[in-house]
């Protein structure tokens, strides 16, 4: 049963140095507040997992918190590069980072396998591309048709952190809008934290609402505005200007460090 605690308690209870951590949210409901709390607590050597690294992981990589990145698309959507991610991969600054990359379909199915507690999932993909030789994918033969398919290994992060619009006092969570892989991430992880815009007396099921019952969540933490500059549909608006602004902030190492320091995110 989910405990409702403060964000700092939730992060302290779940994220240790060296942990594999998935902060998910596919272009929506990105758990910025939780990621920033991980940085404030000074966590290092993390294996960061996320389909779409986005600004949050650029920040976490830029301060050197990550040992490894598991992902499928590392760009600033609609803007361009993630400069801190590039700097880490291209120049090892502030530290070298190991990358394990997949396609979106591969990552999504890795989460499906994880949520199902199956060791792998079957899909069509990877074959005939250089990805197949560079990442953790194998093949499996269909025992009915003989077709060779891709097998992707289950992803079971030690910690999954997602953001949602609301939870009730028992820790039952509801999110709506683009649902991404958040449910799968929570169900695949060994421990989970959901940050929410608000705690309500009773969840009222919404159109498109995805409910995650409190008894499969470890911690629920209120974090109003906790997905900004991403957004929580119906509550906050995506700060597109900041996404553009990040390109300027992050391009230069010193400028980036000054900005992160100002925000108290250097850990």
């Amino acid at each position: 049963m989910a405990q409702i605690v403060s964000l700092s308690e939730a992060v302290e209870a779940t994220v240790q140095d060296g942990a594999s951590v998935a902060l998910e949210g596919f272009t929506h409901l990105i758990p910025f507040a939780a990621g920033h709390e991980v940085l404030r607590q000074g966590r290092r050597e993390l294996e960061l997992i996320r389909m779409t690294p986005d600004i949050l992981y650029d920040q976490m990589i830029g301060v050197g918190a990550a040992r490894k990145l598991v992902f499928s698309y590392g760009g600033n959507p609609g803007v361009g590069s993630l400069h801190r991610f590039r700097d880490a991969v291209e120049h090892g600054w502030p530290r070298p980072i190991e990358v394990e990359e997949h396609s979106h379909a591969g990552m999504a199915n890795r989460y499906v396998a994880g949520a199902s507690r199956l060791p792998f999932m079957v899909m069509r993909g990877y074959q005939g591309t250089d990805l197949a030789t560079r990442t953790n994918v194998r093949t499996v033969i269909c025992p009915f048709t003989g077709e060779q398919l891709a097998a992707v290994p289950a992803l079971n992060p030690e910690v999954a952190i997602v953001h949602a619009q609301e939870a009730d006092r028992d820790g039952n969570v509801q999110l709506w809008g683009i649902p991404g892989v958040q449910k799968e991430a929570v169900l695949a992880a060994q421990r989970s934290v959901v940050t929410v815009e608000r705690i309500v007396d009773q969840l009222e099921l919404r159109p498109g609402g995805v409910v995650i019952p409190g008894w499969v969540i470890d911690y629920v933490a209120p974090a109003p505005g906790g997905s900004l500059p991403s957004y929580a549909l119906g509550i906050t608006e995506r700060d597109n200007d900041f996404y553009r602004e990040w390109d300027r902030i992050s391009r230069d190492r010193e400028h980036f460090q000054a900005w992160m320091s100002e925000q108290g995110l250097l850990g």
Binding site: M51, R86, V181
Partner: protein, 232 residues
Amino acid sequence: MSVDYTNGELQTVVAARSLAGKRSCFIGVGRPSTAALLARMVHNPRLVLVYESGTIGAKPHRVPLSIGDGELAQSADLVVSVPEMFNYWIGPGRVQVAFLGAAQIDPHANLNSTVIGDYAHPRTRLPGAGGAPEIATGCAEVVVIAPHSKRTFVQRLDFKTTRGERTTLVITDLGVLEPRDGVLTLTTVHPGVSVDEVRENTGFELAVSESLKVSEPPSTEELNALRELVSR
């Protein structure tokens, strides 16, 4: 009647025209999104727009900055999880056309969006595969929209991210290439563009169709709609 336009505008207009009569299109952000919205305004109001964020049948009023903009979810016929998007919709080929971009494209329309240089020590780390590999093998027709330059059109990719077998059109700011016997071949140039100019901006030996066409310039309707759309 002659109207002033940029070749970038024409590229968008040509991409939009390619969606006339199509049922559904998978699109990313940037020019593909603009072209698909333009197609819905001018050529094909019933075109179903699909974004990999899970929004199916999105009807955005403005060109979205990201594939996860709230307006996409709010205007969609349905919104699905990312696993469902790839497993039930993209993989089985339910979406007819895909618009893709790339940093590099080879003569067989294979795409690189992973690295420039060596994988282990890249000169430029690009965003990576995203949805492209499975979109490019799931959708029946793939339209690549790319700037025409020697850096983009290369003989040999630094990394093969996405397979090119299903590519039907490559639309650039100089013209249009189509596969002929598996090799991209220049079939159309934009008005005022010479074959030599295209050749100079192509990093592999350019095959040219014997019946080379010239793109129709944007109509007043197309250009007005495009400019109105972009100004929203």
